[in-house]
Structures are given as structure tokens and as C-alpha cells.
């Protein structure tokens, strides 16, 4: 009789691979316990594929339901979930989807699916209390440059080589246009959502670099440097003010870890 840990190891491998041969001999139930085990094996594959298809309906609309289901099934076999909250499953599915043979002809699939993930995350976010300009300015310009800022949890950034925000808005409108031209142009998108609301803003290169650098946990000075590399006329002070006025900054800490609030 195998120890429980070994039995569960065999069972887990059977679930993920879909091959229950190593487990069936320990079971009883029905005419053939192996066929009863198949109920669990099928559930693993179908429930996770269903979850991914539910999470990426716009991508399925773009590439076709059959291709999406096939890719989702393959992803579930190769990348089993590592958390019990299935809502968090599939963060790296866009990259996997882009590698699917039938999606390879659509170079915008990955960024479109990344945008869809961002939209889903933004739509369930809840705003944190924003930091005011008075609170931020109180620490002084020198300390502010070394500070790191936290942005609203419902703010996400996606960069694409195609105008995928227009394609997403077409999908979200629920109205199929007679003709849609997907323009190949560098597109920098800020997705913001809170308590079920959602909006897209297209950013210029400097503002996008400034905000994504801050979102990555770098300092205000580093964010300004990243933006100035792309746009010589970039004004970090105005950019920071715009960010605060939009109530996107929720917290901050100076270089000595002193809270800005």
C-alpha cells in the first residue's frame, strides 16, 4: 500500500497528463474503476479550459473558439494552476497563445490577449484612497526624486505594435462593424478600472515610460530619466502632477522608506 504522498503524486500526474493507468489499480467503483477515474481526469482538462475561455472571450472572438479551446487545453496540461483562486490563473496565457500554430499568423494576438487580461484585472479592482498633491509636495523636491510611488491597483499598462485598443473597444461594444482595419502603429495604452467601471487612455511615449517605470517600483527620478530618454522635452513635474490629479497615486515612500502620507 503506497503512502498517501506517493499516491497523491501519481494521482496528480494522472490528472495533469490525462493518463490514469498508474492510479486505477488502487481504486474501486463501478464496473471499471479506471473509467470512474476518468470523470476526475476530464474535469481537470475541461474545467480549466472553460476557465481560460471564460477569461479570454475577446481573444476567442479574434482567433476562433476552436483554436482558443485547443490552446487552453494544451496550456492546462503544460501549466497547471499554482493557486486555488482560478481567477488568477492564466496570466502568462497570452504568451502561450501567441505560440499556438494557428495563432502564429496573427502577430497582434499576444498583445491583444495581454490587453484582455489587463481589462479583466482592471474591471474587478477597487480604488485605494489617492495621495494628494499637498501630501506629495510636503517632502520636498530632492526627497521626491528618490521616492517610489504606488499606483492604483486598477491601473495597467500595455504596449503594442498595433492599435489593439480600438479592436478591444469594438469587441466590448458588442457591435460587429462591416469592416475593421487594424492599424500597425506603436500604441501605448493605460487601462484603468474601479468597482466595475473601465476606461482606456492612449499615452505618448514619454508619459508611458514615466508611468510604467513608476509602476515597476522605480523612483520618480528614474521614471523621469526613462521618459527623457524618449522625449527630450518631457516635463517630469507636469507628468507627476497629472498623475496625482488623476488620483492614480495611492502611496509613496522616500529613499529612507519614510511614508509620504
Amino acid at each position: 500500500m503506497p503512502a498517501l504522498v506517493d499516491l497523491q503524486g501519481s494521482f496528480a500526474r494522472a490528472m495533469i497528463s490525462g493518463d490514469g493507468a498508474a492510479v486505477g489499480s488502487h481504486l474501486r467503483g463501478g464496473r471499471d474503476p479506471g473509467q470512474r477515474l476518468a470523470i476526475h481526469l476530464r474535469h481537470y482538462a475541461t474545467s480549466l479550459a472553460d476557465a481560460l475561455c471564460d477569461k479570454f472571450p475577446a481573444s476567442a472572438w479574434l482567433i476562433g473558439a476552436d483554436t482558443m479551446r485547443e490552446a487552453a487545453g494544451a496550456y492546462a496540461r503544460l501549466h497547471p494552476p499554482r493557486q486555488p483562486c482560478i481567477a488568477e490563473y492564466g496570466r502568462d496565457f497570452p504568451q502561450f497563445l501567441a505560440g499556438h500554430p494557428r495563432a502564429a499568423q496573427l502577430p497582434y494576438v499576444r498583445s491583444f490577449a495581454e490587453l484582455e487580461w489587463a481589462v479583466a484585472q482592471a474591471s474587478i479592482a477597487v480604488d485605494a484612497p489617492p495621495l494628494s498633491w499637498t501630501e506629495l509636495a510636503a517632502c520636498g523636491a530632492e526627497r521626491l526624486i528618490e521616492s517610489r510611488l504606488a499606483l492604483q491597483p486598477g491601473v495597467h499598462y500595455v504596449r503594442a505594435d498595433w492599435c489593439i485598443d480600438e479592436l478591444m473597444q469594438t469587441y466590448l461594444s458588442g457591435v460587429a462593424p462591416e469592416r475593421f482595419v487594424l492599424v500597425d502603429a506603436a500604441t501605448r495604452i493605460e487601462v484603468r478600472g474601479t468597482s466595475g467601471t473601465l476606461k482606456f487612455v492612449r499615452l505618448d511615449a514619454g508619459t508611458f515610460a514615466f508611468r510604467t517605470t513608476l509602476a515597476a517600483g522605480r523612483t520618480v527620478g528614474e521614471a523621469a530619466g526613462a521618459a527623457l530618454t524618449l522625449e527630450q522635452g518631457f516635463d517630469p513635474g507636469s507628468a507627476l502632477r497629472a498623475l496625482v490629479d488623476a488620483e492614480l497615486v495611492t502611496a509613496g515612500a522616500t529613499g529612507t522608506q519614510e511614508s509620504l502620507r
Binding site: Q8, G9, G29, D32, R36, A38, P80, A87
Partner: protein, 289 residues
């Protein structure tokens, strides 16, 4: 018994699923109480905000699907910490989960999988239940599983395993009456004897859910715990028996797939109340309006 029921027992509640959340949070529900799966709310701040609003108007219980007390590779403490935060925020009147495993070495298998009922499993499950109770700082309520297969290496009946688990850990038991019927039909034992075999003083909640009749790949009939249909008439009969055995207990209607309107769920809950009333007051059994 009837006086105790009239004063102390909650009417039947319903499982709160995300498609009904906005409606219920808007205050439009007459549900006596609600049970939520925390895993649907831990990664969804907006839904969590609405659930906290619901809590202002309704008693709430939490029914976990990802705690995995049957796992031999250790509980997911990060998940438990998140669960603890939600429990602290909501103060549910009951927190429950399944006698099953769903995680192995960090991988989540998205299912409630069976365990053999032997000494090794008892040691592991009891340790895990102790840890859950210590972390949540409250009694955990463990549900009997819906089974399609059992382990030929089991040395105890499921009811004996659950009774010993309750005795060792102080946990309470959730008797899912539909699971009792389904497992008995699938594995060839008597559902009424199963109910009789559970320790009545440990049972703290009852569940009722719909199942579907299918055939397995070998063509043998099998009942699947789909939670996608109304409660079967045979389960209502078994529910009446469970009420006589366990006394009045908080009873929940579970419906997860092919979800009907919230009003239909309330109708099922009202029928559960009718069955309870008929069982304790001796009124004739007939389907409530």
C-alpha cells in the same frame, strides 16, 4: 423539538454565486442567509467589496473549495493567510470545506479528490485540520465528499473516518445530503445507513445540491455532482431522514452551473423549510408552492 426549531434554527440559505452578487448586494434578496466560496472573492476586490455589503444585511457562511485538508504535501499557507483576512473581515457564522485534496506540491488540481480512509490519511488530515483551525482561530466544518471511486486500501468506512476526525480535532461536520445519496449510489452502499453512521452531535450544517445521471466510459450508471439542477426527490426524502437524525441544522441550497434566477434558488430554499416543517411538525409532505 418543534419549539427548538421554531426559535433557534435558521431557515434554509442559498449559495451566493457571482452572477447574483450585484442583485443581492443591492438589497433585493429575502434569503435567510448566504454561503460564499471565498476563492471567488479573494482575487476579486470588487466582488469582495459587494460581499462585505451583503454581510450588512445577511448572515454569511464561507465554504472553501481550495483549502485541501487531505493533501499530503502541506497546506497552502499563503492561501490560508488570505482566507484568514477575509474571515476576519466578514465574521462568517461558519467556515467549512471538504474531506478531499486538491493541491499537490504547489499544484492546484481544481477538483475535490478522494483520499483513502486509513491511518496515514487520518494522521495527515487531522494535522491539517488542526492547522486550519489554529490559523482561522475557529472551528472548521468538514463536508463528506461526493465520490465516484473509493480506494481499495481503505481500512475504515467514510463515516467512521469523519467521526474520528471530529473526535481528534474538535472540528464539526457538514453533511451534504446529496453527496451522501450520490456516493452511496455510485459505490453501492445504503445512504440511510450512511446518515445513521455519522456522529449526530458533530453535524453543524446540511447541504443540498442537484446532480445529473450519466453513464461512465464503461457504460455503467453514475451520478455526477454537477450542482446544475434542482434537488432530486430522492434527496428530499433523505433530507427528511437527516433532519430526524441530526435535528434542525442550517441547510444550504447549492447551485453552481446552469445557474437559475436567484428567485428560483429561494424557491428551493423555501421547499427545504417546508420539508423541515413537515418533518418536525408532522404536516403532510408535498412540494411547496
Amino acid at each position: 423539538m418543534s419549539r427548538e426549531y421554531a426559535v433557534n434554527a435558521l431557515p434554509a440559505g442559498v449559495g451566493l454565486r457571482l452572477p447574483h452578487l450585484a442583485e443581492v448586494a443591492a438589497g433585493a434578496s429575502s434569503a435567510a442567509w448566504l454561503e460564499a466560496h471565498p476563492e471567488n472573492f479573494l482575487a476579486n476586490p470588487h466582488a469582495r467589496e459587494l460581499l462585505l455589503r451583503v454581510r450588512h444585511h445577511h448572515p454569511v457562511a464561507l465554504h472553501t473549495v481550495g483549502v485541501s485538508v487531505g493533501t499530503a504535501t502541506g497546506l497552502d499557507r499563503a492561501h490560508l493567510a488570505r482566507l484568514r483576512t477575509l474571515v476576519d473581515e466578514l465574521d462568517p457564522f461558519l467556515v467549512s470545506g471538504h474531506l478531499a485534496w486538491s493541491t499537490y506540491d504547489g499544484v492546484y488540481l481544481n477538483d475535490l479528490l478522494p483520499i483513502p480512509y486509513d491511518d496515514d490519511a487520518m494522521r495527515i488530515v487531522a494535522t491539517n485540520v488542526h492547522e486550519v483551525q489554529d490559523l482561522l482561530r475557529r472551528c472548521y466544518v468538514v463536508e463528506n465528499p461526493a465520490s465516484y471511486v473509493a480506494f481499495s486500501t481503505s481500512t475504515r468506512a467514510e463515516t467512521d473516518f469523519l467521526a474520528e476526525l471530529a473526535s481528534r480535532t474538535g472540528c464539526k461536520l457538514l453533511c451534504d445530503v446529496s453527496n451522501a445519496y450520490l456516493s452511496a449510489a455510485n459505490l453501492g452502499y445504503d445512504a440511510y445507513e450512511y446518515i445513521n453512521g455519522l456522529p449526530a452531535d458533530a453535524v453543524a450544517e446540511l447541504h443540498l445540491g442537484g446532480f445529473t445521471r450519466e453513464a461512465d466510459d464503461a457504460g455503467a450508471p453514475v451520478l455526477i455532482d454537477t450542482h446544475s439542477a434542482a434537488i432530486d426527490e430522492v434527496v428530499w426524502e433523505l433530507y427528511a431522514h437527516a433532519l430526524r437524525r441530526f435535528g434542525p441544522q442550517p441547510t444550504l441550497i447549492e447551485w453552481d452551473n446552469a445557474l437559475p434566477t436567484f428567485a428560483q434558488l429561494l424557491s428551493e430554499a423555501h421547499h427545504a423549510d417546508f420539508v423541515a416543517h413537515a418533518t418536525f411538525e408532522g404536516a403532510p409532505r408535498a412540494r411547496a408552492g
